[in-house]
């Protein structure tokens, strides 16, 4: 009887230990969804943060030296007098097949000197960009362009933000002396798209 009782106790202990050493488990799925990213920013050239108020100024009313020099030479391309907050244009694309185009609003004119001009002599095609910087490894610039509308670059999947290779300092204004005196302005937009 004692033997039977002893065997029973051992059996209970073994079962009990077995229950104590059993490892509970729980699982879950991990799902990751990466969106299609196409992003473009005008930056100050020091970081990839979007610039607050980028602009390019050709203010030859404040200083006509370069304008007169170009006219004396029979015409030429003059550099901006001031570039503000426009050190680079950068893109981020996590898939290829993208392109960047430039477009501009109407070139408005104000006869601020009351000379009587109408804004003749300057067109969007006279404002040009000649990229002088190094474009990103996955960026293919199309070369120089003007603001009347063009594809300025295309490329493949980028590694983070990559430069298009130009800044506001690469802008130029082609003059030949037939420009009506006054103030001209427009808004230029760069847009990255993909099919």
């Amino acid at each position: 009887m004692k033997k039977i009782f002893g065997l029973a106790m051992v059996a209970v202990m073994v079962l009990g230990l077995g229950a104590a050493f059993a490892q509970p488990a729980a699982g879950h799925d991990v799902n990751i969804r990466i969106p299609r990213l196409l992003m473009l920013r005008i930056t100050d050239g020091l970081s990839n943060n979007a610039a607050t108020s980028p602009s390019v100024e050709f203010d030859f009313q404040a200083d006509a030296t370069d304008y007169i020099a170009a006219v004396n030479a029979g015409g030429g391309t003059v550099a901006p007098t001031t570039v503000t907050d426009f050190g680079d244009v950068v893109v981020l694309a996590n898939a290829g097949g993208w392109s960047v185009g430039v477009s501009s609003g109407v070139l408005s004119f104000i006869d601020n000197l009351a000379v009587g001009g109408t804004g003749a002599g300057i067109a969007l095609t006279d404002i040009t960009v000649a990229p002088s910087g190094a474009a990103g490894a996955n960026v293919t610039p199309t070369g120089g362009f003007n603001l009347s509308g063009a594809t300025v670059a295309n490329g493949s999947k980028t590694t983070g933000w990559e430069s298009l290779g130009f800044s506001g300092g690469d802008y130029g204004l082609t003059v030949d002396g037939d420009e009506d005196p006054g103030e001209y302005s427009t808004t230029v937009t760069y847009t990255i798209t993909a099919p």
């Binding site: 969106p35 299609r36 196409l38 473009l40 920013r41 005008i42 979007a50 610039a51 108020s53 980028p54 602009s55 390019v56 100024e57 050709f58 203010d59 030859f60 009313q61 404040a62 006509a64 304008y67 007169i68 006219v71 004396n72 029979g74 015409g75 426009f86 244009v89 501009s104 601020n112 000197l113 000379v115 009587g116 001009g117 002599g121 300057i122 404002i127 603001l147 506001g168 802008y171 204004l173 030949d176 002396g177 037939d178 420009e179 009506d180 005196p181 006054g182 103030e183 001209y184 302005s185 427009t186 808004t187 230029v188 937009t189 760069y190 847009t191 990255i192 798209t193 993909a194 099919p195």
Partner: protein
């Protein structure tokens, strides 16, 4: 009904897809062009006015004027007018009445002591050349040397 809802859903999804597939950034471009009126005398420096010393020799019914011509170049990106005046160096010099003619065409005109409009026009689209020839109005003064200064001024009308 389910089919309509499905179609609408597809359209919405397609629209979202397009919206996500582009991004843009813009900036302003401002251009300020000054009113430029420049006068260049005998390919000299640019200015808005220029003076030409005139020396006249009269001898035996003939005369010689140095210079015989002034070559003017005008640059204007608006309407302009070119004026000129002649100031004899002395009362005696005023005996020689200086005249001018533009581009070897037209009749001879008198210079006056006050600025007189020689020519005018619209924007020149580059440098426009004018040639001003000098002469003396008859009757000629007595033999001798006479001098004065012609002053050209380019301005808006």
């Amino acid at each position: 009904m389910h089919k309509i809802i499905l179609n609408i859903s597809i359209i919405i999804l397609m629209t979202l897809g397009v919206a996500a597939a582009q991004d843009s950034a813009g900036h302003r471009v401002n251009v300020s062009i000054p009113n430029v009126l420049k006068l260049r005398l005998d390919n000299g420096t640019n200015t808005s006015s220029a003076s030409v010393p005139i020396d006249i020799q009269v001898e035996n019914g003939n005369y010689r004027i140095d210079p015989a011509y002034s070559e003017l170049q005008i640059f204007a990106n608006s309407n302009w007018q070119l004026s000129a005046s002649y100031s004899p160096d002395s009362t005696n010099d005023a005996q020689a009445q200086l005249t001018w003619r533009m581009n070897d065409r037209g009749s001879w005109q008198d210079f006056t002591a006050y600025p007189r409009v020689l020519s005018s026009g619209e924007k020149t689209q580059g440098w426009q050349s004018l040639s001003i020839a000098y002469g003396l109005k008859a009757p000629l003064p007595t033999d001798g040397n006479y001098s004065g200064v012609v002053t050209y001024t380019l301005a808006r009308p």
